[in-house]
């Protein structure tokens, strides 16, 4: 089992979109994929055509002290997913306080689930540092940081690096953190500049392809489909395909 954490320094950069679409693309390429939603926004399920009336998620299981197994759903797109669950404020606070005292909560729950060989668990996280990110980073084997090419995103780079340094760098089952640029538009000079600055700072830690600003992505969400399904010939789908083959190379490098 390989755990990929998808992070972002701030909200609205399309982190959930990237996580879900990459997961579906990986599954299409033949890899078993499980998506885990750690974001209280509970948005992963929206991308995968889930039944909107079904509000259960792993939070309920945790609070009921039952296995996550019953919170896992199958989708039509080759991936299974575990939603966060629609919860009341009281439920959320009680979970988060529970997490403070059980730092191995995520680890234990992931282990308890059955997993196929080669399984890839992609975890969507809430933006910025939080108790969830703390737990996720303690189990992640790979980290993908989603950024958008603007100055605000770029300014948070050092904060994210500090977080990664603290939770991941010393673990020997950690295989690196990488950056993905989303909502890139080559026609905007600032986008190009930030891209080249990041290229120079991060070198090969910046993913070889950006995800371009593309209406297909938001339209796909409206249709509750991954973009590969909804608009297979779109630029975003093409970018995701390139990212997927790059990610495959990274995954294959991890010793079994």
């Amino acid at each position: 089992m390989t755990v990929i954490a998808v992070l972002s320094p701030k909200g609205g950069v399309g982190k959930t979109t990237v996580a879900v679409n990459l997961g579906c693309a990986l599954a299409k390429a033949g890899r078993p994929v499980r998506l885990l939603d750690m974001d209280p926004q509970n948005a992963v399920r929206l991308h995968l055509g889930a039944d909107l009336s079904d509000v259960s998620g792993h939070v309920h299981q945790t609070l009921k002290q039952e296995s996550w197994h019953y919170a896992e759903y199958d989708s039509d797109y080759g991936v299974s997913f575990i939603p966060y669950g629609k919860v009341s404020e009281i439920e959320r606070i009680s979970l988060e306080s529970q997490l403070v005292t059980t730092p191995d909560w995520l680890h234990d729950n992931l282990i308890s689930l059955d997993h196929e060989p080669g399984l890839c668990v992609i975890i969507d996280t809430p933006p910025g540092p939080s108790i969830y990110v703390q737990q996720v980073l303690s189990v992640a084997n790979l980290v993908l940081v989603v950024m958008i090419p603007d100055a605000g995103s770029y300014a948070t780079l050092s904060a994210i690096e500090g977080l990664l340094e603290y939770y991941c760098a010393s673990r020997n089952d950690f295989y690196g953190s990488y950056y993905v640029l989303n909502q890139y538009d080559a026609a905007v000079p600032l986008n190009r500049d930030i891209q080249s600055v990041m290229q120079n700072t991060l070198n090969e830690r910046l993913a070889p392809a950006c995800i371009h600003r593309d209406t297909s992505l938001s339209e796909a969400l409206a249709f509750q489909q991954p973009v590969l399904q909804y608009a297979p010939h779109s630029q975003a789908a093409d970018d995701l395909a390139q990212l997927t083959s790059w990610l495959q190379v990274l995954l294959n490098r991890i010793p079994k």
């Binding site: 080559a186 070889p208 371009h212 608009a231 093409d238």
Partner: protein, 802 residues
């Protein structure tokens, strides 16, 4: 002259062992015993000692004379020829230059032996008819032998010079003037060249781009101002392009001058790749790079061989100039070159005495002891001549100019040249005298058919026993040396097509070098319907008719008149048939294929992304581009509305560029874009992404077939059949004066196109055929269909039906 040069040159040549186009894969032929022996031979100390060398030269000379002159009985000669040929066939399997050299020695030896026998035993001067035709043929054969030997000397060891890196300190980089001479070419042609020149990577303050307008056009002056380049003009047009450049030399000051014809678009790396050698060798006066063409020339278009068979120019730019470079004899070709200003002024500017001012300027530089260099990496590209008549006109100018130099400033005479420089220049000039000998070969057997002249006075089998080794070795050796740049037997076609046209001007230039103009008028523009250019093919039709008549008479002679010398008749008939094959192929060249679009379209195959008005994006492929336009093939099921405004992204390496455009054509999966409202930077970027893409030029030769002597002959025969079909078709057409009717193969093609457009079931082989033959929209449709089919098959394999 720089003393370092020859040794440097040899080292470079040694390091880049030249492998022929096809080398047998087995290790034995790369590293086997024979290779070890020859390496030991090369490293033998005796080569360094003068006495040893003289002794060896004498022994080799004697051996050579003996092997050329010793007489054998007819059967023994046949056996001897066969043995030598089989040894050459075996040696051909080994890689490396030394084996090429051995094969060259065999070839020269066998050809010399043949000619020795011809001169001594087959010439009969006792009757007028035999004597006259015999001597004429022999002279033509001697010319062919001379050009063969000089050709071997010229291309014996191509230098393959690598670019010299520039110093990292930019302040020492020299100043360069870029000259773009133009006379009457439209602005849209010159425009791309200037935009590409603006993007050349060189310190801006050290680069001065000049449009040299001999047409005194305000339009050009305004364009130059708007993009910030220098505009130069003059009040007269003395000495045409040469005079234009010379005038500009007086108005500029750069240390170096780079010259581009106005339709040669430079790559941005041009100066960085070429200037290094000038800094390394202070005596270097001129550095030439190849002329690369983005569109098919008339041969390639009319024969359908674009990117499949090397074109006429590839031998020169791929091999001969590289061969010249070893002997410090590379010459200037008028464009895509850099010259040192001091050296150019030292020889009095660009030469004005002849119509090939470029080669003559280089000759003058060499006479003054300057060096020249060649880098065989395309660094500029342009469009080829549009029609056969324009192509012929250009070749006439070259031939006439070279003959003028040969007469006025003969490289064998005068001061300052090394022996090999003299030989290289002589070959370059003698080469253009092929017109008359080529026609003699095309008509020679007729002297027997018509006049019963025994031009080679020997029995047919003896002729075969001597001539076959000569021809076979020449073809085998040249296939090894030139195969990658010219396929076997194609020289016959290229030369035969031009022979008649260059024979008159070269002859006249020899007699009266300063007079005479022979220019076939160019019929520019669109070729709407396929047609046979009767005007240009008239001489070949005449020769074709004569050869057909000769063949018919041959039958009469074979069975009735000359049945007592049936072998001789048959030999002459075989020769006539060979000539008919070559002449038939020239007919195929003269049939101008249709050009569908007005503007030149350059084929490409690169990724593009279309962004529609509503923000949706489609990844597609760009398949061709032209001035201000781009053709795209969409993935299946993606519809793009006509006349909508879109943005298209093109890639240059990892960098991407976005251009606004509008959809002006949309049918099935093919759409056409027109760019509009691009600012200067975008225009420059667009040229970089399309016409000035140096990475695409390098791949151009990758699709070429590998040369095999027999397949070269087969291809020529197929072309010939096509040509004769065309001929009979257009002949019938003009006799009956009926309305236009399709030839059978066009009919078939049109039927296929109809099916393709309707997406009917059609075999992939047929699609491939269309794709190969058609450069226009039908080819694009065929390609897109092939691509989608390929995908469908892959998907079917992935998800088998249960």
């Amino acid at each position: 002259m720089s003393s370092t040069r020859p040794t440097e040159a040899k080292e470079t040549a040694k390091n880049s062992a030249i492998f022929p186009a096809r080398v047998w894969q087995s290790g034995r032929y790369k590293f086997g015993k024979l290779n070890e022996y020859t390496t030991a031979l090369i490293e033998w100390y005796g080569w360094e000692h003068t006495y040893w060398r003289i002794a060896i030269m004498i022994v080799i000379g004697l051996l050579y004379w003996f092997s050329m002159t010793f007489s054998l009985s007819l059967p023994m000669q046949a056996v001897y020829g066969a043995i030598v040929f089989f040894v050459a066939l075996y040696l051909r399997r080994y890689a490396g230059t030394l084996f090429t050299l051995i094969m060259i020695v065999f070839s020269i030896n066998q050809s010399s032996r043949y000619l020795y026998w011809r001169v001594n035993e087959t010439l009969v001067l006792d009757n007028w008819v035999d004597g006259f035709f015999g001597v004429v043929l022999l002279l033509a054969e001697l010319y062919a032998w001379l050009v063969l030997v000089l050709g071997y000397a010229q291309t014996i060891w191509p230098l393959r010079r690598k670019p010299e890196p520039m110093p990292t300190d930019i302040t020492v980089w020299p100043t360069v003037d870029i000259f773009i001479p133009t006379y009457n070419e439209p602005l849209k042609v010159v425009r791309s060249t200037v935009l590409a020149a603006l993007a050349i990577d060189w310190p801006k303050e050290k680069l001065n781009i000049c449009i040299l307008d001999d047409g005194r056009r305000d339009e050009f002056r305004e364009f130059a101002q708007s993009v910030g380049v220098t505009y130069l003009t003059r009040s007269d047009n003395m000495h045409a392009k040469a005079g234009n450049i010379n005038r500009a030399l007086t108005q500029t000051t750069g240390e170096y001058v780079a010259i581009f014809d106005c339709d040669h678009i430079p790559a941005r790396s041009f100066l960085q790749l070429t200037m290094g050698w000038f800094l390394r060798d202070p005596n270097l006066a001129m550095l030439q790079t190849p002329h690369h063409f983005l569109s098919p020339d008339p041969f390639e278009r009319n024969l359908g061989t674009f990117r499949r068979v090397p074109n006429e120019g590839e031998l020169f730019y791929g091999l001969i100039q590289d061969g010249n470079d070893l002997w410090n004899a590379t010459f200037f070709c008028g464009s895509c070159a850099v010259m040192r200003r001091t050296a150019l002024l030292d020889v009095g500017g660009v030469a004005v005495e002849t119509v090939t001012e470029d080669a003559h300027t280089a000759l003058k530089m060499h006479r003054k002891g300057y060096n020249t260099a060649y880098i065989s990496i395309p660094q500029a590209a342009g469009l080829a001549t549009e029609s056969l008549s324009a192509h012929v006109g250009q070749r006439i100018r070259w031939a006439r100019g070279m003959a003028q130099i040969f007469r006025l400033d003969n490289p064998m005479l005068g001061k300052g040249l090394s022996l090999m420089q003299r030989l290289c220049y002589s070959n370059a000039m003698l080469h253009f005298f092929y017109g008359l000998p080529r026609m003699i070969f095309l008509l020679a057997p007729l002297s027997y058919m018509f006049f019963q002249a025994h031009i080679i006075n020997a029995e047919a089998l003896a002729i075969a026993a001597y001539a076959l080794p000569h021809l076979a070795h020449a073809n085998l050796t040249n296939s090894r040396i030139q195969g990658a740049y010219r396929h076997s037997f194609w020289a016959e076609l290229y030369e035969s097509t031009l022979a008649w046209y260059i024979f008159r001007p070269t002859l006249l230039a020899l007699i009266k070098p300063k007079e005479g103009k022979f220019n076939v008028t160019a019929k520019g523009g669109l070729i709407k319907e396929e047609f046979l250019d009767w005007q240009i093919s008239a001489p070949y039709l005449t020769m074709l008719t004569l050869n057909v008549a000769g063949l018919l008479i041959g039958f009469v002679r074979l069975f009735w008149w000359n049945s007592f010398e049936a072998q001789t008749v048959m030999l002459n008939m075989m020769w006539t048939v060979y000539n008919l094959v070559i002449l038939g192929a020239t007919m195929a060249v003269a049939t101008e294929a249709r050009q569908i679009r007005g503007a030149h379209r350059v084929n490409c195959n690169q990724k593009a992304v279309l962004k529609l008005e509503n923000g949706r994006t489609i990844v597609c492929r760009a398949t061709d581009y032209s001035e201000g336009g781009l053709g795209l093939v969409m993935p299946e099921s993606e519809m793009v509305p006509l006349k909508s405004d879109v943005h298209v992204t093109l890639y240059l390496g990892k960098r991407e560029f976005v251009f606004p455009a509008s959809v002006v054509f949309a049918r099935a999966s093919i759409i056409g874009l027109e760019f509009e409202g691009l600012n200067l930077q975008q225009q420059m970027d667009l040229v970089q992404c399309t016409l000035a893409r140096a990475d695409a030029w390098l791949e151009a030769t990758e699709t070429q077939n590998i040369d095999r002597p027999m397949s070269g002959l087969k291809e020529i025969m197929q072309q010939s059949r096509k040509g004769l079909e065309h001929l009979s078709h257009f002949f019938m057409l003009s006799v009956k004066r009926r309305s236009y009717r399709d030839t059978p193969h066009i009919k078939k093609e049109r039927g296929l196109l109809y099916h393709v457009l309707l997406n009917k079931d059609i075999s992939s082989d047929a699609l491939k055929e269309i794709f190969k033959r058609r450069l226009d929209i039908a080819g694009n449709i065929a390609r897109s269909l092939l691509v989608t089919r390929g995908k469908g098959r892959k998907q079917a394999e992935k998800h088998p039906v249960n």
